[in-house]
Symmetry: C2
Subunit: 167 residues, 2 copies
């Protein structure tokens, strides 16, 4: 499936009007995108064509971004997950640009947010073990200046879903 032309990836997004059927479709697809049109149509109480048209529109509107396989980190041997809280003293554009690139270039970083408040950034990092985290950490601070780092080690994933609450 190709990227819809009307929306940038990660770009700003105007909220979209959804009715009850749209919401049901999205809820289903968030949990299992391998459902067939027939199954979806049956469960939302409509028939194939309108459901198909709605899904196409939701894709074009950028509500549905993409369809992916979710892998099991433990099965891949990624036994350690860290949340990394970062404070920096540098706030110029060049630094931010290099920091961004450093994060984008590292596949261990699965999530990164710029924050409001005294902590500047939070990262979520998947690695094989504590030693691999240290290698990641050394490599990162070797590439960009960072004032202060706190790593929070996850002991247990209590809940993890890719399904957003649909308002």
């Amino acid at each position: 499936m190709s990227e819809p032309g009307s929306n940038e990836v990660g770009g700003a997004q105007t909220p979209v009007r959804l009715d009850e059927v749209d919401r049901k479709i999205l809820s289903l697809l968030q949990l299992d995108a391998s459902l067939s049109l027939d199954q979806i149509a049956e469960r939302v109480g409509a028939s194939k064509t309108p459901v198909w048209n709605r899904i196409r529109k939701l894709r074009e509107a950028g509500v549905i971004r993409r369809q992916v396989a979710i892998l099991d980190p433990e099965a891949l041997g990624l036994e350690a997950c860290f949340f990394v809280l970062i404070r920096t003293s540098e706030h110029d554009k060049d630094w931010a640009h290099r920091f961004l690139k450093a994060l984008r270039d590292r596949p261990e970083v699965v999530e990164a947010h710029r924050l409001a408040g005294d902590i500047d950034y939070i990262l979520k990092v998947h690695v094989r073990n504590a030693r691999a985290y240290d290698r990641f950490y050394q490599s990162l601070i070797g590439e960009v200046r960072i004032h202060n780092v706190t790593a929070l080690l996850s002991m247990e994933e209590i809940k993890a879903t890719s399904a957003l609450p649909i308002p």
Copy 2:
């Protein structure tokens, strides 16, 4: 597609041996699970049948957990994302059980981890706005005793991928 019988959802997982072709297949499916068998086979340099058998085995082994649609939070009007750091003084089983249930019951909580160290839990919460976060917060502390809460508001999602690094 039904849940494979040999692996619990979220259960402990023995790492699996993967060769180069498996890794390529997983990398592709992590980014786009709507690719056809033909496309995958072409890109990994193999033909349909062995690729299909590998995918089936990866599913049965629990490496591929499921296939989902990724939605755009902004398009759904979920403009606020918080990371919530939680300290608690209670550590008995009953409290933990009620806390877990409170998190599982709230769709705004998309992620929750029990941590090592002085912060006990971290949550990731998607809500419409700051007011909705406050409602969530009040409702949560009304349901379970929590000693200390720090909310980190995301200003910008710098990176967000469902793709794990494949070792």
